[in-house]
Every structure is written in C-alpha cells, then in structure tokens.
Amino acid sequence: MEKSTFEAKVGLAEMLKGGVIMDVMNVEQAKIAEAAGACAVMALERVPAIIRRDGGVARASDPAMIKAIQAEVSIPVMAKCRIGHFMEARILEALEVDFIDESEVLTPADEAFHIEKHGFKVPFVCGCTDLGEALRRIGEGAAMLRTKGEAGTGNIIEGVRHLRTVHGHIRKLTRLPKEELMTEAKNLGAPYELVVQVAEAGKLPVPNFAAGGIATPADAALCMALGAESVFVGSGIFLSSDPERRARAIVEAVTYWEDPKKLAEISTGLGEAMAGTEMGKLTEDQKLAKRGW
C-alpha cells in the first residue's frame, strides 16, 4: 500500500470537478453549504471581502474552527495557509484537512518562495494568473490549480482575464514547433518538461478551477464556458441576502452551464447578490492576485 501518491492527490481534484467549493466561516455555514450540494468547503475565519474591509495580517484559521467543521460535515474540508508559510501548512496537514490552499487571499509569509508541496501528504491547490505561474506551482507539487480572479470583489472581470490568459497560452503552445518550446519555457518561467507536456496534451496536467469574484450562477457558468473545471465561491454566497438559495443555484449552474433555459430558471428569485467592487477603485497594493511569484 502506498499512501498519498501524486495520483491519489490529483484523484481527489478529479472528484471535485463540476462541483462548487464554498468558503465557510463557521459550522452553521458549513452545514448550509453541504446541504446545498457543495462538493467541499473551505474553512476560514473571514471571507475575502471581510479581510479586505478589516485590513491587517490575514493568517491561517484557528484549528478549533477547522476541527469543528470537520466533525460536522462529510464532504472534504479545505483550509488556507499563507504563501510560503510551510509551518502553517504542516499544522493544517496534522489536522488532516483534505486540501490546503496556499492562498494569496491571506497575507504572504515569504516574498520570494512558495511551499515545496511534493513533501506533503496532503494535496495543495494554488492560484494562478497565467500559464507560467500555473506550471511553476505544478512544478512545486500542486495537485490542483485555480485561476485567482480578484477575491472579495464580487467582480468577475479579473477571473475572466486569468482564464482567458491561461487557456489562450495553452492553445498557443499546442501550435508551436518543438524547437521553440525551450525558449517558450524560458519566457514563461516554467519547467520545460511541463511545457512540453502541455503542448502535447493541450491541457494542464492537473484540474484547473476558477476563483475570485464569482457572485451569481451566471458568473459560475461563464467560468465553466471559459474552460474552468469547477469553481470556488468565497464571499459570494455568505455575503448575499439568501445564502442557502444562492449556494444551491451556483451548484446547479456549474452542472447545467451549457443549458441557458435551465440557467434562467436557476437564476430566478435569488435575492441580492453581494455588493461588488469596481476594479478602478482598488489601488495596486489592494490587488490580491499580484501576490505569488
């Protein structure tokens, strides 16, 4: 028996496809998410929009709240650690969370290096804004990726940009002759072997989900249409007026994203979405997607 192989890690990411991973701040929200059909929950003390509002250093969650959620739901429980903070990651691994998100939503702990993720038994998901960043994270051992978008804004524009950038670059790679791939790897800042693999397969070697700014079923469906294999919803559910209905609607939209009639039915009568933020209102240092190297 071989435990925690890379295949087993990516296997869980495969099982999360076509589902919705919801940020939850307590046990009650975790139960609402599970009942609404979430395929996993992300346990964190403050959703991104609240982190933005409060400011200060955002750290990994209190183990007590993570354990309380693990005790109450049967679906996978994920948690976030700061970029480069491998000790927070070791603590989350000791808690046996099902996935660690090395996340730009928390305040980075290291300004140059991410965590070496192959050395952990627990799988990692990391954010990306372009293909080079995606392949660097896979090179470090990430078993799943998510485009970053701009968390806590309720604005999908950055998520769309990141999905288009990653998938546009994959399409470009598939058309390049083999002799150009090494220079392409240099330009991307990505491991050559992974660049060759993507050029041959026409897709990333691990699942890629979308995150950051998803507030409506239509936003989730848009991400799926742009090539995301699933979505993370952070502030969008529990900062809306009717989290239960909105959660269920986003779950349904991810399954039926190709069926506009069903989407129209799913999108009806959900109450108020979270308040959104215009990108022009954010200063450069308020953009979380810039975190990560």
Partner: protein, 181 residues
C-alpha cells in the same frame, strides 16, 4: 458500437468517458432523464455522493435511473456511485437508491491524507482509493470480484458492478472491458 452513458452531474465523469473510449464504446455525458433509456450501459462515477443525490432528485433523474437498472443493462458504480447504489449508507447515514444488496460506510479509510494506491489480492489489478467507502455488508446474492487485504472492494450482482476504488483513474481497462467491451 455500444453507447454508454456517464452520469455527469459532478465529479469524476471525464475519466470514465476516456476509459469507455479506450474499450471501444461511444461515451455519452448524461445530465437529463430523457437521455437515459437510449443507452446500452451506464456509469455512476465518483465525486461527492451528497452533491449527486441532491442533483439527481432536483432534476428528476431518479425514475429513469431506476428503470435503467431494472432493464438488466450493464451498470458500473464507482466510489460515490457505489454509495448511491447501496442498500444502506452509514458514516453518516444518508439516503441511497438500494439497487445493490450491500451496506457501505463513507470515507471509511480516513480523510484524504489516508488515500492510497495498492493492488487487488492475488492479482495485479491496480486499486486507487480516494476518501473511499468500505463495504460493510455484502448480501447473499452478491459476488465479490476483488478484495484488498481480505475485504471486498468490488462486487457484482447481475448487471450491476460496484467498486469502492477508481478503475477509471488507472491505466488498467479490465473493469470497463468486462462490463462494456
């Protein structure tokens, strides 16, 4: 060419589509009840069983799935699919379709850090277990077709095959070939 549907509501359906192509079937993504009856075979994939249950009921797929199983055409249920097909589900208790005379416990090997790869007893069939269920009871008319460390991990009852591991995620195609090839 056999047309085999994979219930594509959530989870690991894409890998089953590839496995079905590998054994010469025409794979079909199934999301609506009206697609089911025209199929020659059906796969209920892995994923989160709680999510699958909700979507099956919400979008009215249950009667079509029940009718398909009753029609004696081949059905493969892996991981979460096995949980849906079982007679009873524990840890925690949840509803199921009761097609297969087995009881299962969810996530019974532990959380993700305990997910593992191994081989079937007395065979080189690769077994990949991901937050896998365990077969706690196997009914008298159910044949055990693979074991790991003595305990059942794949079973067959007439047209129905249930596996607690993920044959679609390893290169060995024997499970899909035996049922749909």
């Amino acid at each position: 060419m056999k047309r085999v549907g994979v219930l594509a509501l959530q989870g690991g359906w894409a890998a089953h589509l590839r496995a079905l192509s590998d054994v010469g079937c025409e794979p079909v993504e199934v999301r609506r009840a009206d697609q089911v009856d025209a199929l020659d075979g059906l796969v209920l994939p892995g994923g989160e069983s709680t999510t699958h249950l909700l979507l099956v009921e919400r979008f009215g797929l249950r009667p079509a799935l029940d009718a398909f199983v009753a029609s004696d055409r081949p059905v493969l249920c892996t991981c979460a699919g096995l949980i849906l097909a079982a007679k009873a589900v524990h840890h925690p208790d949840q509803p199921s379709f009761g097609w297969l005379d087995v009881d299962v416990a969810r996530n019974a090997w532990g959380r993700q850090v305990h997910s593992f790869e191994a081989h079937a007893d007395g065979d080189d069939l690769p077994l990949l277990f991901i937050r896998a269920p365990r077969l706690e009871r196997v009914g008298p008319d159910v044949e055990v077709t693979a074991r790991f460390e003595g305990e059942p991990v794949m079973v067959r009852q007439g047209n129905l095959v249930g596996a607690s591991f993920h044959p679609e995620l390893t290169p060995d195609r024997r499970v899909h070939r035996a049922l749909f090839g």
